[in-house]
């Protein structure tokens, strides 16, 4: 990485791969760089070509989201000067993220033989007390020399991100309160799986078409959800999976069913989904595993039958009442 050659600001293009944590933090990233005065380039929605490139580049046992991420980086590598990616070990005390985020920088760097410029931010709160604000400040200072400007840009980006996130959560909670005849299903999946254009969104689109009200487990307020999760499970230490567990506990009595979606072979999900199902056996649930060889027809058949079963069950319950 040639940080020494600071290019002129107007010329710099920062590439944001539309994969992994982009779906969670995109407002934060986009506003931050726009405020600093850089052009940003976001890769397009995942398509077959990007997936194919990613599969060719990645170690064949990597999980699907990492393969897609590498495909997006491959798309951006000639078009952007820097590729922005997160390297996150832990966001909170005594918590960690999946190890793919821990090794993301080195994974990408080694896959492209160290030939691309990567702009990474490194959050490691549990071990080195590096929190989000500090790391964004470091990233900003690599690009511009005015610390005040960096700080203000970060504050503004954070505010917008928080507001948007809160709005989505509130909107979802309002939808939950609405009384209508629709089936209510909670989708427990990482945002980079369910919101991805190629692998996840066909599922949510199909469910919407089937006249189902869907709720996402990643749209919860983080702190209360994690606290609730700690009451249920003493040992779980993956931040996002803890949020899911809290969300399931929060929604448990108000929904008709849960769909667990995991990408193959997701490490944390393999264990956590087993735990969710053991802790909440009373809710009807379905377990979907996505990989790059998935046929859409098979998936839709399974979803359709699950929705049918839930509908029948709902009718039966209404009758007995």
């Amino acid at each position: 990485m040639n940080q020494a050659t600071k290019l002129k600001k107007a010329d710099l293009i920062i590439g944001l791969p539309r994969a992994l944590l982009y779906f969670k933090y995109h407002q934060l990233w986009e506003v931050f760089f726009k405020e600093l005065g850089f052009k940003i380039l976001v890769s397009p929605e995942t398509n077959r070509q990007i997936l194919k490139d990613g599969v060719n580049l990645a170690v064949d046992e990597s999980c699907l989201p990492v393969k897609i991420f590498l495909g997006h980086v491959n798309y951006l590598k000639d078009k952007a000067d820097y590729i922005f990616l997160p390297r996150i070990v832990s966001l909170n005390k005594k918590e960690e993220l999946c190890t793919k985020f821990m090794g993301l920088y080195d994974n990408v760097n080694n896959t492209f033989d160290g030939k691309i410029n990567i702009l990474e931010y490194n959050i490691d709160f549990h071990f080195f007390q590096k929190n989000q604000a500090r790391t964004f400040f470091e990233v900003g200072m690599k690009l511009v020399s005015n610390p005040l400007k960096v700080w203000l840009a970060y504050r503004k980006a954070l505010k917008i991100y928080d507001n948007e996130h809160l709005k989505l959560i509130q909107e979802q909670e309002q939808r939950l309160k609405q009384k209508n005849n629709k089936l209510k299903i909670l989708i427990v999946a990482h945002p980079y799986v369910i919101h991805d254009g190629l692998i996840g969104s066909p599922i949510s689109k199909f469910l919407l078409k089937e006249n189902v009200e869907i709720f996402y487990a990643d749209l919860v307020e983080s702190l209360p959800a994690r606290k609730k999760a700690e009451e249920i499970s003493s040992d779980m230490y993956w931040t996002y999976n803890k949020e899911f567990l809290g969300a399931i506990a929060q929604y448990a009595k108000k929904i008709n069913g849960i769909i667990y979606i995991a990408a193959f072979p997701c490490g944390p999900d393999a264990l956590s989904i087993e735990l969710y199902q053991k802790k909440f056996p009373q809710i009807p649930s379905m377990n979907l595993t996505l990989d790059e060889l998935q046929s859409e027809a098979g998936l839709m058949t399974r979803l359709e039958s699950f929705v049918d079963i839930l509908n029948l069950r709902k009718k039966k319950n209404a009758k007995t009442k």
Binding site: V59, E61, S62, C63, R87, V89, C98, T99, K100, M102, G103, Y105, D106, N107, N109, N110, T111, D113, G114, N122, S233, S234, D235, M236, Y237, W238, F264, P265, C266, G267, P268, A270, L271, S272, I273, E274, L275, K278, K279, T289
Partner: protein
């Protein structure tokens, strides 16, 4: 002290290589009867797979199989350590699975916290005499046993391929384990270790001056449990290869205790290939691979359970090391469906390739007086 067993509890623990001797010493601290699970077999993994989540990594399945077999034998306390990548979360899920199968037991976790008071309190639930000095002695004893096993194992790994009369070392090693199993104090461990060390050195070997040297790196469970890696070490060792391995239990414990220093040293070893710690034992794998490549080893074996993310991160760096140093690396990934003959075939091909590389190098040296680039790498540095 008269030994009084707390009859209510019967403790068991998972297997890992030959470490059951040391694990037993830790389980003994609970002051109850100890049930060693039967050695890992095909049945263990079948049981484990049947009740595990589908794509969880293979150590989970082996551990679960061990527990089921031990519970069937009458155990009712399970002892497990924590820490690492997914390992810290194994316990809770396994507990839920076993409970839903209808077993009644207590789960004893040596959890991620290293606070001696917390650990002592946990032990005191089972054993009233478990004070901190008592526990420290127990852990130190287990550590010494592990160390003794490792030292002897290391000698065996490096020499088993060259013994004059086949099978001698294995026999001696088994009797060493049997003897170590009975021992309960430090001086006797030391004495037994010394006795067997001399005995091992007495075994006649025909080692060439420059034997083929191969390193073994990877995820810790698969590296250390020979059943799970289809005895790669033994298979390759018997062909006449000196095998070096760095992942051992004592190594892992010391690296935990001196974590920052350890990581710093590894980072400098892995330098151009890694910038950050990549989780699990990935950093160790890359650092050791880089070191061995520079030391002029003939090759490297990398093993991991299927889908092990830290090792996948490491593999991207290993590919580069392999290219930059012309350093042969073979990758094995183990799952419950991996076939033994497939592994054996690939291992054989790898061995043949190493021999061919040696011959080619020797020829080059005769013609040119040393290979242009290989020369540096082949020079031995100790």
């Amino acid at each position: 002290m008269p030994k009084q067993n707390n009859n209510k509890f019967k403790a068991c623990f998972p297997h890992m290589g030959n470490y059951h001797v040391a694990f037993k010493s830790i389980a003994k601290l609970l002051d109850c009867e100890i049930i060693t699970p039967p050695p890992i077999s095909k049945k263990t993994i079948e049981l484990g797979c049947k009740y595990s989540p589908e794509f969880v990594c293979i150590p989970f399945k082996y551990n679960l199989g061990n527990y089921i077999e031990a519970l069937e034998k009458g155990a009712n306390v399970i002892v497990q350590a924590g820490g690492g990548c997914r390992f810290g979360f194994y316990g809770e899920v396994q507990k839920e699975i076993l409970k839903s199968l209808g077993y009644k037991f207590e789960f004893f976790k040596l959890n991620n916290s290293f606070n001696p008071f917390v650990i002592a309190k946990e032990f005191q639930k089972f054993n009233r005499r478990a004070t901190i000095p008592f526990l420290l002695r127990g852990f130190a004893l287990a550590f010494c046993q592990a160390l003794a096993i490792e030292k002897i194992e290391d000698y065996v790994r490096k020499n088993i391929g060259f013994e004059k009369k086949e099978g001698e070392m294995e026999k001696l090693f088994n009797s060493f384990l049997m003897e170590l199993d009975k021992i309960n104090n430090f001086t006797q461990i030391y004495k037994t270790y010394n006795k067997f060390k001399i005995n091992f050195h007495k075994i006649k070997t025909k080692k060439p001056k420059k034997p083929i040297r191969v390193g073994l790196v990877g995820e810790l469970y698969v590296v250390m449990e020979p059943f799970s890696n289809f005895e790669i070490e033994k298979k390759l060792g018997k062909k006449g290869v000196e095998i070096h391995r760095f992942t051992t239990v004592s190594n892992i414990i010391t690296s935990f205790l001196f974590s920052r220093k350890h990581v710093k040293r590894l980072m400098s070893d892995a330098k151009p290939y890694l910038k950050y710690h990549i989780g699990g034992h990935g950093l160790e794998s890359v650092a050791n691979a880089h070191k061995l490549a520079r030391q002029g080893f003939d090759g490297l074996i990398h093993v991991k359970p299927f889908g092990c993310m830290p090792e996948i991160n490491a593999m991207t760096a290993l590919h580069r090391i392999s290219q930059d140093y012309q350093f042969p690396i073979v990758y094995f990934s183990f799952d419950s469906l991996t076939s033994e003959s497939g592994v054996a075939t690939r291992l054989e091909a790898f061995y043949d390739m190493l021999i061919m590389k040696r011959k080619k190098y020797a020829k080059n040296q005769r013609i040119h007086g040393g290979g242009h680039r290989l020369h540096f790498h082949q020079s031995r540095s100790h």
